[in-house]
Amino acid sequence: MSLPPRARQLGVVGCHACGLVCEDKLDETGHADCPRCGAALHRRRPDSLARAGAFLLAGMIFYIPANMLPVMYTSLLGSGSDNTILRGVVEFWKAGSYGIALVIFTASVAVPCTKFLVLGLLLATCRRRSRWARRERARLYRLVEFVGYWSMLDVLVVAIVAALVKFQALSDIEPRLGILFFGMVVILTMLSALSFDPRLIWDGDDTNR
C-alpha cells in the first residue's frame, strides 16, 4: 500500500483558512501565522479529538432532556397539551400523516442519532489510529457535514409555527424548554463535526508526524 507523501514529510503545512501551503516552521517556533491571511498555522487542528469528543458528549447529554421535555404546547379550543418530539411523531403517525411523521422522525431522531454514532465512531477510531475502512469513514464524515445543515429543521418548525399560530383562546402554540435543548444538541453536534479534523482519519500508525 503506497501512500502519497505527507505534508510533514515534505516539510510544509497548509493554512486552514485560505489553503496556502507554506514551510513548516512550527517545530522551531512553536507558533506560526499564515503569511497570506494571518490565520494561525497548525499541522492538524489543535485538540481536535478532545474538542470534538467534548462537544459530542455535551450534545448527547442535552439530547436526553430534548426528548424528555415537551418541545411545543398546543392549545385548541381551550384544551391544551404539551407535546414531546416522540409523542408528536406517534400522534402524527396514528392520525395517518405518515409523511409528516417520517420527516419529524428523520429530522429529530434519525439524524441526531446518526451524528452521534458517526462522530463517536470517527473519534474512537482516530484515537486508536485505526487503519480500518478509511475511505468509508471519510465518506461518513462528509455525510455528517451534509446533514448538519438540516438538523435545525425541528427548531425552525417550532419557531415558525409558534410565531404564526396566535389565536388566543381558539388556538395557540408556544415553544417549550425541550426545543432549546434540541437546538443545543444541533449546535453542539455541528461544533463537534467542525472540530473534528478529517485528516486524522488518514493518520495511521504507519506514519510518523
Binding site: 522551531e28 512553536g30 467534548a54 455535551a58
Partner: protein
Amino acid sequence: MTQTGDTPDMVPEPREPPVTHRRGRFSLVWLVPGIAVLIGVSMLVHAWLSSGPEITVTFHTATGLEAGKTPVKYKDVTVGAVSAIALSADGAQVIVTLSLVKSALSLTREDTRFWVVRPRIGIGGVSGIDTLFSGAYIAVDTGTAQQTSTAFTGLETPPTVIGGMPGRSFTLHTDDLGSLDIGSPVYYRRIQVGRVAAYRLDVDGKSVGVEVFIDAPYDRFVTADTRFWNASGVDVSIGADGFKLKTQSVATIVAGGIAFATPESSQSEAASGSTSFVLAKDQATAMAPPDGPSQFVQLRFDQSLRGLTVGAPVEFSGLNIGQVISRDLDYDQNQHHFSSLVGIVVYPQRLGRVLEKLRMPAGDAEQRSAEFLRGMVEHGLRAEARSGNLLTGQLFISLEFVSDAPKVTFDVSARPLTLPTVNGSFDRLQEQVANIVAKVERLPLDAIGRHVDMALVDLDKTFLQVNSRVLPETARTLLQAGQTFGAAKDLLADDAPLQQKLGQTLQDVQRTARSLRVLTDLLGTHPESLLLGRPDDPAPAVPGSHKPVPAQEPLR
C-alpha cells in the same frame, strides 16, 4: 503525545527542547460537556425535588381521560396530571395514575376524594359545561384524615359537598332509599337548604343511612327535635274537607327530596353535626308525636286471615295503637289444625292520657305489660280480625272488650305475650251465611220441584172441577143462605112479634120472681105465718113500690 526533538543523534548540536504548550494542559473545551452535565443534573434534581406524590385512583371507566393530558385540579388549580391509564388485573376497573405536584402532598389524605368532571345533565341541573371544550379533568377534594395513601377509589359522580363548605352534615336513617339520590334537594319551608351528600347501606343491611348536608346558615334550624321526612313524589289525599295534593317542588316529583321541620313547641338547641335522625315516610308520620317504646304481642287466629297484610293497623276503641308486623302459619300436630300467628306491635304511648289513669303494676317493662294485659284479658280484652273495607276485604286487628267472651287463662310468663282472640263479627256472619247456604244446598230442591209441579197439575184439575161444578152449587147455596139470613133478620128485629112476646114473657117471669121473694121473706121473718096466716103489722112500705118488700133490700 506529540514528541518533538526526540532524535538527538540526527541533530548536529543539542538545543533546548521546544516548549510544548499542550502537554498537561486541561482543554477548556471539556467545560462544555461539564456544563451540559451540570444542567442535566440540576434539571434532574429540580424534577426530583419538585416531583410530587404519584397516586393511583380506580374508576369504573376512563371516559374523557387521557394519559399525559388530563389535568388534576383542586379548587380549579392544576395540581397534577394523569400520567398513565391502565386496566386492573381483572379488567373490571380502570387504574389511573396521577402525578401530583409537590405542593399537592396534602391532598393525598386517606379520605381524599377524586372524581371526573365531565359534562353532566340531570334533573338536578347541568354541571361541568366548561369541560365540553376543555375536556374532562379529575377534581380533588381533600379529606381530613391524618394518614396518607397512594391508592384511592374514585367517585363515579361528583360529590355534592366539597370540603370547606359552610354547613353541617346529618345522618338520616330510613328503611329504604325511595327515589332519593345523591344531590336530591333538602327543603326547609319549601326553600332548598341542602342536599343529599351520600347514602350507604348500614352494616347490618337493615336500613339505609342517608347523609344530608345543610348549608349554613340554615343548619342552625336543625335541632334535636327536628323531624325529617321524604318529600318525594306527590301526596294525594281525599278527606272530609276535599281533595288535597301536596308536593314540595316539581323537581322532587321526579328526583325525590327531603324536607324537615321542627315542631313549634320545640325549645331544643341546634343539633351537632353528627346527630342521627329518622327519615319518616311522610310529613304526617314525621310530625306525629313519638311512639315511645313498643310492645310485641302475638295473636293466634283459627280463621283464615285473607286480607290481613303486614302493616295493617291495630286499633283499640277506634284508636290506632300499633300495626301488624308479621304473619305466619302454625300447625298443631295433635289436632291436625292450621292456625295463623299474627305478630303485632303496640305503642302504649299512643293511648295518651289514658295511660296515666291506668294503674300499672310494678316490675320491669315486659313483666309490667304482661301483668297489665292479664288484668285486661280477665275483663274480656280480646283481639279480633275485622274487616276494614268490605269491598277489598282488607282486615285490621281490633282490640276490644268482649263481654260474653269465654274465660281464658292468660299466661303471664309466656314470651312473646299472646293475647286471646275471638273470631271476627264479619267472619261469624260469613260462617252463618255459609251454614245456611250449606243447608239450602242439602235441600232436595229437584224432588220438591217435581212434587210441586205435580201438585200444581192436580190443583189445576181441581180448580177446573171447582169452576165447572162446585161454583154453581155454591152460588145457589149462597142465595139460599141469603134468604135464610133475611128470615132470621126479620125474626130478630126490634119490632118483630117474637121479640115483643119475649119481652112480655120476661116481665112476667120478673114479677113472678118478685112475688116469690116476698113470699120467702115473709116466711123468713114470720115462719109462723105459714100456719097462722099473715101478721097484721104491715112491713114498712118501700117508696115507689106497691108491694111489701123487705126493708133493707131495695129491689132492682
